[in-house]
Amino acid sequence: MSAAPKTILTVDDSRTMRDMLRLALAEAGYRVVQAIDGIDGLERLDAEGADVIITDINMPNLDGLGFIERVRGDLRHRATPILVLTTESEPEVKDRARKAGATGWIVKPFNPGKLVDAIRRVA
């Protein structure tokens, strides 16, 4: 990892998952920006930027797929890596997310090691 810590934007409506991500990422030396849904995610991305985005799919207001499409539609972020949080039981979600422009995915539940691995493969 380069000297300046990478900024990770996490977008998830679950506080448990946000906390999990925040603690795991902070322990791995990343700077974390949190958002609670897609709309909030777009605003945080605008305000703070991100080296990697990690987003949930099922969220109120603007779900993960809509969020990814909006990020990819923005010239400034069309190459920003986006990892989606998905579960073993929803393989179709992964495919839909890829079609929308997701870079990779993290299967829940994950341990911090897997999380960091996934980030390293995209940034």
């Binding site: 679950s14 322990e27 099922n58 090691g113 995209v122």
Partner: protein
């Protein structure tokens, strides 16, 4: 491969903190699930309702996965799959389907609680409902069977990695990205770097496909790489690096010993324009979609409790200050008096404001009642329509916690005994579905909760006959309807065998009333034969402050709760009758009540000459309606006091409910009237036996 990757593990402290958040959040999710399903049950067809319920179940599943709560994960998954069918319009949300979901929500709540308490969950508890959920979800499976061409990509799931082959091996990896790889935000450089972490890598770039400048498309893909990797890692570990770009590149991995087949000629790469995301229709984002967290913050309860305590101290110290100033300045200046008044007003406002922070809507308790109704419904075979009103009514947390028990009794009784069977109801021309209405409202500094049913109502003749038979009222007593109805709360009215055929109203109701009265509350019933009963529960909005009468006994300050105080009387010697060696009665308007010397009862002083007392008597009533007169030295006036628990700060003391701090800084004990009267009765019985 594990030895090549840092396997981060969260500290136990971090995990414990997340666990707390998870269970807090579960409670919120379960509340959301129940309110969403209840709205669905009431015929609201907003698709967002199902979405919200689905998301909540999904979040519980996700969190449960972190903590490896397998039973919870599996059940939430089944629940979620069934909900997905409704969400996809493959299953209609009929009342029967919603009922299954409501029961599933109950089971989910049970599993969450079991997980939190670290209990094992027996599968019997989830079995039946699990099967029903599976049946609902099965429509999807059926649909898949009819589409053979659905292509499922098998995914390797966790497996124990094979031990690496002895010694490092050399691999050749040929990697040619498509333009779509870049469009998704993947970066060959990063992938090659990751590959290099597996061992020693030699990277060759093939730039031959890069066209002349006039033909160059900045978003197309022209480069490819060949990486020679010497590693102990296996092929799976190498492929895993490229997991995200599968389908977006050409990738050939071969053992070095065997010659790698040449890459096929580059297919015409899809143009960047094809790969670029379609222009996106902005999704509608109304004002309602604003993140709800913006107007609310979360505060740990202990912080609020601390604030409540501090404000209690503030109230006390403000009173101390006011008393000192008035005692020490003979002539209070108007400006000081004005400032003191302002301070006192401000203190009261702060106290109200802080108590409002701890106030919570009764919604959570009411939702539990909804579940109770469903259970009672299932147990009794009755059909019940539950109507809930005023669930946003707020009361102090301390009261919320104490509401559940009396409400549970009232609601259970309403379903089990108030409502008639469906057959009987249709014979009577009533709707088959019985109505239970729970409502809450704030009235005059109290919360009033009503539980009403449209069942058979109380049978007053039988209530009265029973009360007479049990010696609770005289046979010739003149009782209005209301008196008769409320006999059901009298201790000794009900026994397990007597009431069930009457209407079951008596079961444990004396216990409920005692509990409610101990909180400074009241409970009553009104009923119309054939048309139903209404139970009314009224409680103070907070248990943190109390309205009391400050009295003095042997130089000690004592607080008698106003709720149990009937009047104060100045007893004349002629009104006092001695009864045996140590018992006295006070005659008040023709009736006699025990006269209790409070100083002696609490051990402050030796027996007073009760024949000629100097002092005042407080006529009080205990929770059962038993009256007594408490002899005190002086009545100092009404006070609102902040309650300090003796049990938390000292130890339980008989006859004393709690303590408070007075304006002059002294501690005053708050009397437990019921306990004082009971202790006196025991003492008198002993004395009489001894005599």
């Amino acid at each position: 491969m594990a030895e090549h990757r840092p396997v981060g593990v969260l500290s136990p402290e971090s995990l414990a903190a997340i666990r707390v958040v998870f269970f807090q959040e579960c409670e919120e999710h379960i509340a959301d699930i129940e309110s969403g399903l209840t709205a669905l049950e009431c015929g609201d067809c907003d698709p967002e309702l199902v979405n919200a319920v689905f998301r909540a179940v999904h979040s519980i599943k996700g969190g449960a996965g972190i903590f490896e709560l397998e039973a919870l994960v599996q059940f939430a998954h089944r629940f979620e799959s069934a909900l997905a069918e409704v969400r996809a319009d493959r299953v209609e949300a009929t009342p029967d389907v919603v009922r299954v979901f409501l029961r599933a929500a109950d089971t989910l709540a049970d599993l969450v609680q079991a997980a939190r308490d670290g209990q094992a969950v027996s599968l019997d508890r989830t079995g039946a409902i699990s099967e029903e959920l599976e049946r609902l979800a099965a429509s999807q499976a059926a649909a898949f069977e009819t589409f053979d061409d659905l292509d499922f990509e098998p995914r390797p799931i966790a497996f124990t990695p094979l031990p690496p082959a002895a010694g490092p091996q050399t691999w050749r990896v040929r990697f040619r990205p498509h333009a779509s790889l870049y469009a998704k935000g993947n970066e060959p450089l990063v992938l090659i770097r990751e590959l290099g972490r597996l061992g020693e890598a030699v990277v060759e770039l093939d730039a031959e496909q890069v066209p002349m400048l006039d033909a160059f498309d900045a978003e197309d893909s022209y480069l490819s790489w060949t990486i020679t990797l010497t590693t102990t890692a296996d092929e799976a570990a190498i492929l895993e690096v490229f997991e995200f770009v599968e389908g977006d590149c050409e990738l050939v991995v071969s053992r070095e010993a065997a010659a790698a087949p040449p890459l096929p000629a580059p297919a015409p790469a899809p143009s960047a324009r094809d790969a670029a995301p379609e222009p996106v229709e902005p999704r509608s984002v109304g004002p309602a979609a604003a993140p709800k967290d913006l107007t609310a913050i979360r505060v740990d309860l202990p912080r609020v409790e601390r604030l409540v305590d501090l404000v209690g101290e503030l109230v006390v110290h403000q009173a101390i200050l006011a008393e000192r100033i008035s005692a020490e300045t003979s002539r209070r200046s108007d400006t000081v008096a004005q400032a003191l008044d302002d301070l006192s007003q401000l203190t009261r406002d702060i106290q109200e404001g802080v108590m409002a922070i701890r106030a919570q809507p009764v919604k959570a308790v009411f939702q539990r009642m909804a579940r109770l109704v469903r259970e009672a419904e299932a147990a009794s075979g009755k059909r019940v329509r539950l109507v809930v009103e005023g669930e946003a009514t707020e009361v102090d947390r301390t009261v919320i916690e104490r509401l559940t028990e009396p409400l549970t009794h009232m609601v259970r009784n309403a379903v089990a005994h108030g409502l008639e069977s469906p057959e009987r109801r249709s014979a009577l021309g009533k709707p088959v579905e019985g109505l239970v209405r729970i409502s809450a409202a704030q009235r005059g500094g109290r919360i009033v909760i009503e539980v009403a049913d449209d069942g058979q109502g109380l049978d007053r003749e039988r209530v009265r006959a029973l009360a007479v038979a049990r010696g609770l009222v005289a046979e010739d007593a003149t009782l209005v309807d209301e008196d008769i109805d409320n006999l059901i709360f009298a201790p000794g009215f009900s026994t397990a065998d007597s009431i069930s055929d009457l209407s079951g109203r008596g079961v444990g109701l004396d216990v409920v009333r005692r509990g409610v009265q101990a909180l400074g509350g009241r409970i009553s019933v009104s009923s119309l034969r054939g048309a139903g009963s209404t139970f009314t529960l009224s409680l103070p909005l907070t248990l943190a402050v109390l309205d009391g009468m400050l009295v003095s006994v042997g130089g000690h300050g004592l607080i008698a709760p106003l709720a149990s105080l009937i009047e104060t009387v100045q007893p004349r010697p002629a009104d006092i009758r001695r009864l045996g060696a140590s018992t006295s009665l006070l005659s008040i308007r023709g009736s006699h009540v025990p006269l209790i010397d409070l100083g002696r009862a609490l051990g402050y002083a030796g027996a007073r000459e009760t024949a000629a007392p100097h002092g005042v008597a407080l006529l009080v009533e205990d929770d059962a309606g038993e009256q007594a007169a408490l002899l005190v030295d002086e009545v100092l006036g009404q006070r609102q006091v902040v309650i300090k628990s003796l049990e938390a700060n000292y130890r339980p003391v008989e006859g004393v409910a709690a303590a408070t701090i007075l304006g002059d800084g002294r501690v005053a004990l708050i009397l437990d009237i019921t306990a004082v009267i009971a202790a006196e009765r025991r003492r008198a019985d002993h004395a009489n036996v001894a005599a």
